[in-house]
Point group: C2
Chain length 312, copies 2
């Protein structure tokens, strides 16, 4: 099958064997914003036409903002709790039998909805990789997602504007004057101090100001202040989870950012498992299987296939 | 005397009779950023020279960022707890006997310092206006200040980047797409919902995202979302105070912004007193008296003065 993660600014795809082996990968800076109205089919053919021509009958599943209102087609959100079967039952076919969009998820708490598009397939992939049915996962990023899994299904999740707030404060606020133009060396001790501070009384809007006041008194310099700011924001994200003591957390993401979350979680006494960011390919494969688009090969069957053979 | 509030972007001054009567006021967009190095004396003469020429021997006290490192002279912070006498004892004379800067305050909690410049004179003025020796005050703004007063002295305070974060999120974040170009009509119910939401579990970085998700589901429109965002941030500022139930709070500020804080505090069950934003003139007058720069006239004495007479 072909697995595609099509986001706002970029697109990534993988050609997968039925056993999940990645046969080829493809990435392009061709996000939603660069596709003209009515240009979705052409863009898709330009990026993945060669793979489909070489492997006729192959199915393609896409996840991410491609299914948003500004995307190829709006794939209605699947309501939580949602597992593989729920998502598979709600595929949005843009080319029937050939290309489908995996729906994002929505949930609601206290009358306020929350949404994700794309992260759900990464979570499903991570659950398979970890062999877990119950888990707490975090996907750090511009809009971090915290995900609760019960019985193999995503029961609830919440979005945190951590990465975006960091970028804004880092470059646009009064704090930017205190910080070097680029982050420079990460200062783990200053990051740790920021995480710890986030758990003190006073609130985020107050703690942020410490980046300025510490600089005013010459107690910290640029790189340390940038690391502290990062710790304050990630610490606030952790504080808001109110995680039970000792609760394990799986972190899915790029090594640099995931490493910061791992460090912050470890400081707070939580066992951490790191999951490769490309868990999404495994997740899309699992959705395809749940939708009956691929047979699930037993190990013997998979072994019997010549290397590189695709199961349509 | 002449009382001056000289800030980063603007300058305000008042010609005061010894009993506090405002005889004249003057404002100019001549903040710190517009004064060239070495140009402070000339800028001061250009703005206030006529008053001083008309009333020889008059003393001028200035508060605000004019006393910062980037200002006329760096006035060392006065450490909390600090009252009128402490501040008066630490005046920074830039023209001996004629023009002095009132020092800002600093305090420290858990190894993290905090600072203010200018708000302290507003607080002293408000305490006189309210006749209070013990109080909790808030000065809303770009960097809101919460101030604790014990025995007539400022015992502790904390800065919150509420106004700045609102402006950044309002105009620069992904939420800006959901919001009208200008705030439009304020929607009190949406503001109230934001304040209430800030006290729910989940944390500010999560609650902010509700501005987007509510818009995605068409549950709120532009002006309501802007009011909700304002409520979320002001609510978070209140939440972080952990005010005792029923504790009274004095709000010092411009009517529009102070009105939002009054409404949020009332929702949380706190009796509110509003204080005029120009309490600063009374505060500077009180500092001048505490410094022995003005005699404190009894009512009879003040009555005996011809209107407009200045006491040097």
């Amino acid at each position: 099958m072909i697995a595609v993660d099509w986001g706002t600014t970029a697109l990534r795809g993988a050609l997968l064997a039925a056993d999940g082996t990645v046969l080829a990968e493809h990435a392009a800076p061709r996000g939603l914003l660069s596709v003209p109205p009515g240009g979705w089919g052409a863009a898709f053919e330009a990026e993945f036409g060669a793979w489909l021509a070489a492997h006729p009958g192959l199915v393609c599943l896409m996840a991410g903002m491609v299914g948003s209102r500004q995307g190829w087609a709006e794939a209605a959100y699947c309501r939580c709790p949602a597992g593989l079967a729920d998502v598979a039952a709600q595929l949005c076919w843009v080319q029937p039998g050939r290309v489908a969009i995996v729906p994002g998820l929505c949930c609601e708490a206290d009358g306020v909805p929350d949404v994700m598009r794309g992260e759900e397939t990464q979570v499903f992939g991570a659950l398979q990789a970890l062999g877990l049915q119950v888990a707490t996962l975090v996907l750090p990023g511009t809009h971090s997602k915290w995900v609760q899994v019960q019985g193999g299904r995503i029961s609830h999740f919440s979005t945190h504007m951590t990465g975006e707030c960091y970028a804004l404060l880092r470059s646009q606020s009064i704090l930017a004057r205190m910080l070097p133009a680029d982050d420079g060396a990460w200062v783990p001790e200053a990051f740790d101090a920021g995480v710890a501070r986030a758990f003190d009384a006073g609130g985020l809007l107050h703690h942020l100001f410490s980046v300025r006041s510490l600089a005013l008194f010459g107690r910290d310099d640029g790189p340390a202040l940038a690391s502290r700011l990062s710790g304050l924001l990630i610490g606030e994200e952790l504080r808001a989870q109110a995680l039970p003591a000792g609760a394990p957390v799986a972190v899915l993401g790029s090594p640099a950012l995931a490493g910061r979350y791992q460090r912050a979680l470890a400081q707070r006494g939580h066992p951490v498992t790191a999951v490769q960011a490309d868990a999404g390919w495994m997740g899309l494969l699992a959705v395809a299987r749940a939708a009956g688009l691929l047979a699930a090969p037993g190990p013997a069957e998979a072994d019997a296939l010549p290397a590189g053979t695709l199961r349509p």
